[in-house]
């Protein structure tokens, strides 16, 4: 077995191993380090002798490394006594079957809650989730978010210390806090997805690999929390948004607007999965993710931009504005209103946002405002707005589209 095989087993097993070891040791940092050490050993030993049960080998080796570390930490002697019971396990013969599957599910879920714990900064939650639950290396997290590797390593180290210092227990949140904490996990996963679906900076519009990591984690959460409608709402939103990825950029990477996309390139299977998830999300009153997914579903089932049910989209944005008020929602609603009631009505909504200064420094407001002014036959003002938007936009691909559009107006 070579490096790529070690990586593959790692991807499949690392979250479960870290979760199980966190359960044994009560220390997510130690569990993660021990699992990484086991992977490093696998890289050396598997090419020489492939284990019959790679997952069991990793689990047993990681457990031994955890024991080694605990041995060195006199303060944790009591925990060691607990672990030492299992030291006789021969890694070559060890099996993952000795792990209770229900327990492991709860452990993976607890790992998600710990990684997304509110004591951590949002950036630390993202980094820790991708690292310990997603199994990504610090290098991969750094590449995904276009930040230096040292920054990611520092965030992860700090996050582990914060969790230890705050005494965050390794357990599922109590019933009273569960919904709110689940909302926290969903928002971390959604922020990872949006970074992949609309890169906030850099020279690519999409980073599908980042979006893929998010979808994978949301699917895991949906399998572990099948009765939570908003988990399925987020899954639906991610699937339906990702379904449009193949049509969202030209072969040279230039963004293609929704109305100009070749809808035959949309991923029909992903749309079906998204619609199925949306059905499961729609039990009871729809939450913010289900509503956003319903908007994406309305686009996904329309044969063209003109044939889209824009009235329904306006209604859905109204509902979304009620359950999760946000200036971005108002702005998107304005775009839909332009389709149903014309650009003048839409511009009034945007002007309100501008005068209240509710989205300062965002390129989105002048982008929409410029487009509406252009449709209203006010090209000079439109051009100034689009140039302003280009100046505020950190994504090079989007910026060049804005400048090109501005140049067509005079």
């Amino acid at each position: 077995m070579g490096t790529a095989d070690v990586e593959a087993v790692w991807r499949v097993e690392s979250a479960r191993i870290v979760a199980a070891l966190t359960r044994f040791t009560g220390d997510v940092g130690l569990a993660e380090d021990a699992t990484q050490e086991a992977a490093a050993e696998a890289l050396v030993s598997w090419p020489q002798a492939s284990p019959a049960n790679p997952a069991g080998w990793l689990m047993a080796t990681a457990r031994r490394r955890a024991i080694d570390t605990i041995r060195r930490r006199t303060a944790l002697r009591d925990r060691y006594a607990l672990l030492a019971v299992d030291t006789a396990v021969d890694p070559a013969a060890a099996s993952v079957e000795d792990v209770d599957p229900d327990r492991i599910d709860d452990d993976v879920l607890a790992l998600m809650f710990v990684s997304c714990h509110p004591v951590l900064s949002p950036a630390a939650r993202v980094a820790l989730t991708l690292r310990v639950v997603g199994g990504l290396s610090s290098e991969e997290v750094a590449r995904a978010f276009l930040v230096p590797v040292a920054t990611v390593q520092a965030r992860i180290t700090r996050a582990k210390k914060t969790i230890a210092a705050a005494g965050v227990p390794f357990e599922l949140p109590p019933a009273g806090e569960r919904r709110a904490r689940l909302g926290g996990v969903l928002s971390v996963l959604y922020s990872i997805f949006t970074e992949g679906s609309t890169a906030t900076s850099g020279d690519h519009l999409l980073r599908p690999d980042v979006a893929y990591e998010a979808i994978r984690l949301v699917r895991t959460l949906a399998a572990l929390q099948p009765d939570e409608p908003e988990v399925h709402g987020l899954l639906a939103l991610c699937e339906l948004t990702a379904a449009r990825f193949p049509a969202r950029t030209d072969p040279d990477g230039t963004p293609v607007l929704l109305e100009d996309q070749d809808r035959r390139r949309w991923d029909a299977a992903a749309i079906r999965r998204g619609l199925a998830a949306l059905t499961r999300a729609s039990t009871g009153g729809p939450g913010p993710y289900a509503l956003q997914a319903a908007i994406a579903a309305t686009h996904a089932s329309a044969p063209s931009a003109e044939a889209t049910d824009w009235d329904r989209i306006v209604l859905l944005y109204d509902a979304l504005g009620r359950v999760a008020p946000s200036p971005v929602v108002d702005l998107n609603r304005a775009v839909a209103v332009a389709m149903t009631s014309g650009p003048a009505r839409a511009l009034a909504i945007v002007e309100e946002l501008v005068s209240a200064d509710r989205l300062p420094r965002s390129h989105l407001v002048p982008t929409v405002r410029g487009e509406l002014l252009a449709r209203l036959g006010r090209p000079a003002e439109a051009r100034a707005e689009l140039e302003l938007a280009a100046g505020l936009c950190a994504n090079q691909r989007e910026r060049s589209v804005l400048l090109r559009r501005a140049a067509t107006l005079s």
């Binding site: 087993v9 990484q36 890289l43 790679p54 991969e140 690999d209 984690l217």
Partner: protein, 138 residues
């Protein structure tokens, strides 16, 4: 602390294609309840890992027909085709980070002795060779 070195990744879909023989199909049918339960457990694991896109099994090949494009016009015949010893019996469609990861999942399929699983990457829409005449027409 070392981390497994990773190659530049792109998300990819892989299909695990179940290929049985008459003998292996018969062996599976002999303990079909067990096979279904084991497959159900694997599907659950795949869902929890966030990789499962679809999984389906095909009905008895004897109930199928073959549309044969060997001549001037397509010819329809009953049942499985000709001399083929291995028959496509079902598939798992997975969203994974690498071929090795797809292979790791394939190893876990509770397939009966004598059968095979073919692991194939699904081509993306933009991989249709230029000039092949059907790009964008699908």
């Amino acid at each position: 602390v070392a981390t497994p070195p990773k190659e530049e990744k792109a998300m990819a879909k892989y299909m695990l294609i179940m290929r049985g023989t008459d003998e292996s199909n018969a062996a599976m049918m002999a303990s079909i309840d067990e096979a279904m339960a084991a497959t159900g457990r694997l599907i659950e694991e795949m869902m929890k890992a966030g990789v499962l896109l679809a999984a389906e099994g095909l009905d008895d090949p004897g109930q199928g027909v073959v549309v044969d494009f060997g001549g001037d016009a397509p010819v329809v015949t009953d049942g499985p085709y000709g001399e083929t010893r291995e028959l496509f019996g079902g598939y798992f469609l997975l969203d994974v980070a690498s071929k090795q990861e797809a292979v790791e999942w394939a190893r876990q399929v509770p397939a009966v002795r004598g059968s095979k699983i073919e692991v194939r990457r699904v081509a993306e829409a933009d991989e249709v060779p230029p000039g092949s005449g059907n790009s964008g027409q699908l």
